[in-house]
């Protein structure tokens, strides 16, 4: 029993890692651009397909493929900023619809390029960290955990300690005042989109060998990310991380002991309960709701 608990706990840590990468990216984009990026799950998918193309088909070394995937998805984010979100700045629902259109385009491109079937990627490493007979952590999952810790710490340092980070937070808080201080809103929007999209892309790239890659994989990812950022409070990075961990724990344990559909129901119900008790999420304020 203790083994099972420990193993489920490890699985939860892994789930929390990639969920928080996706969710933090979504929060960053919402915070700076004020737009809900419905295509965020498809950016995750794009990261996964980068691995299919580079690592599985062209045999590029895995970590180089991940790095290229990160840059590629980051550039997709820049493209979205330039063509969709900047022209629709004063039209939040318009931005939402445009991102839905972009989602359809990305999905169609994935279907046309790789087919509708699931793609299985050869494992990066078969190594397993053994804690005991029944408690093991595949190294491929360990990479995801490490990536989440490193990248989110780096992001935290970037936002709180560097000049760019200050600029970014200022333009999230009050775009006009920030512009008056000489901060280029366009530049901070670009940085936010690149980082936000890139985080989703790297999460997709690193988990690609561990899941079945298919054109519709973004769907469940975006649903989970929405739950997490709502529970955490829209616009709060800390809230997104805390909520990711909490959601992953609950979801993984319910899945292990009952079943996946029930886990989804429990996760959604918990979110509703949080919203009923505190309608702006755990760490949120009503500012940009």
């Amino acid at each position: 029993m203790l083994d099972l608990l420990a193993q489920t706990g490890l699985n939860a840590v892994y789930a929390a890692s990639y969920i928080s990468l996706v969710a933090v990216g979504l929060v960053l984009i919402f915070g700076v651009m004020g737009v809900i990026n419905f295509a965020h799950g498809e950016l995750f998918m794009a990261g996964a397909y980068a691995i299919v193309a580079l690592y599985a088909d062209l045999h590029v070394p895995f970590f180089i493929a991940v790095a290229i995937g990160l840059l590629f998805v980051g550039c997709l984010g820049l493209l979205m900023e330039k063509t969709l979100f900047r022209p629709l700045k004063d039209n939040p629902l318009g931005g939402l619809v445009a991102s839905i259109g972009f989602l359809m385009i990305l999905q169609a491109l994935a279907v046309m390029g790789f087919g509708v079937r699931m793609v299985h990627i050869p494992p990066v490493t078969q190594e397993v960290i053994v804690f005991s007979d029944k408690v093991r952590l595949p190294v491929a999952r360990f990479y995801v955990i490490i990536a989440a810790i490193v990248l989110l710490s780096a992001l935290w340092y970037f936002l709180k300690r560097t000049k760019f980070g200050w600029a970014l937070r200022a333009s999230a808080q009050d775009p006009e005042a920030a512009a008056l201080q000489g901060i280029s809103i366009t530049m901070t929007a670009r940085i936010a989109m690149f980082i936000g999209a890139g985080l989703a892309g790297i999460a997709g790239a690193l988990t690609a060998p561990l899941v079945s890659v298919n054109p519709h994989m973004g769907h469940s990812v975006i649903v989970t990310a929405f739950i997490v950022i709502i529970v955490g409070g829209v616009g709060s990075l800390e809230g997104a991380i805390v909520a990711s961990v909490a959601y992953a724990l609950v979801h993984t344990f319910v899945t292990t002991f009952y079943d996946g559909v029930l886990a989804d129901i429990v996760g959604l119900s918990l979110m509703l309960v949080v919203l009923i008790v505190k309608p702006t999420g755990l760490f949120g304020s009503a500012d940009r709701a």
Partner: protein, 326 residues
Amino acid sequence: MPKLLIWIAALAALIALPHGLSFSQQEILVFLTINVLLVASYRLLTLTGEWSLGHVVIMGVGAYSSALLTKKLGVYVPVSMLLGGGIAALIAVLLSFPLFRMKGFYFLIGSFAAGEIIRLLWKRFRDPFGGAKGIKGIDPMPDFSVGFYQFDFFEPTSYYYFAGVIVAVCLWILWRIEKSPVGLTFHAVHWQDKLAQASGVNVRAYRTLAFAIASGFAGISGALLAHYIGTINPNAFDIDLMVYVLTWAIVGGTATFYGPILGCVVLTVINEVVLRELGLEQMRPLIYGAIMILSILFLPNGLESLVQKFTQRRAAGGAPERRPAE
């Protein structure tokens, strides 16, 4: 008088319409008719300023209720359709208690979560909802004759006439509600909610009322769908259809009653008729997505703004463009 003539011509065109179409296009026409009611009911909900992502699941509540009522209790189909709408409205009232604590983006996602919970319950509980496979063999509308026309409800044309009449009546009721003092209060709740509250309007009650009415009509559209295709499952009411409803409304424009309907008709015809004819099956979502992006970029006030521009220029000879309310 010319207005009456236009209405009569439009009615004649709608009656003649299915006879010029292929069988599959007639089926699309039936779905389109049902979706017109769905998107028009959605507009009533958005009048109070809240955008729900649970509307399609509420439509499903109507479909499941009506299907189960006929299957388990043997209720006469037209009656069960009305009851389906009633149950959908009732569920909406229940959902309003948690949901209306939230606003804006939180409401958007909260309504999505509430809807997903209902949808997953259908999936999880095989009794009575049939699990992931859903309910099969739903009783069709019983055939009947009105003297000069024999309704055979396995024929899309017959069902189109039947659904058309029901949808027309529902649209008329929705339109009357919008033009009534209650409808004006909905507008007030959206644009001046503090002022409305200060003048004694119970904002929360009006939001709930709009939510319940919209849900009731969505439920009827769901029931119409269920008794036409004869089988429903949880995936028929998932976020994909909801995204379509949302985009129909926004691309069409929500400042007028006809905007969302226009969006629904135009986008459906483009997607199901034009793009399908071109035979680019895999390219279809790509082109559709691009059309959505282009229309939102270049027509931020929706397709209805095109109509307004056209009719106003004719009426006033190039009068300055009036910005719609939204």
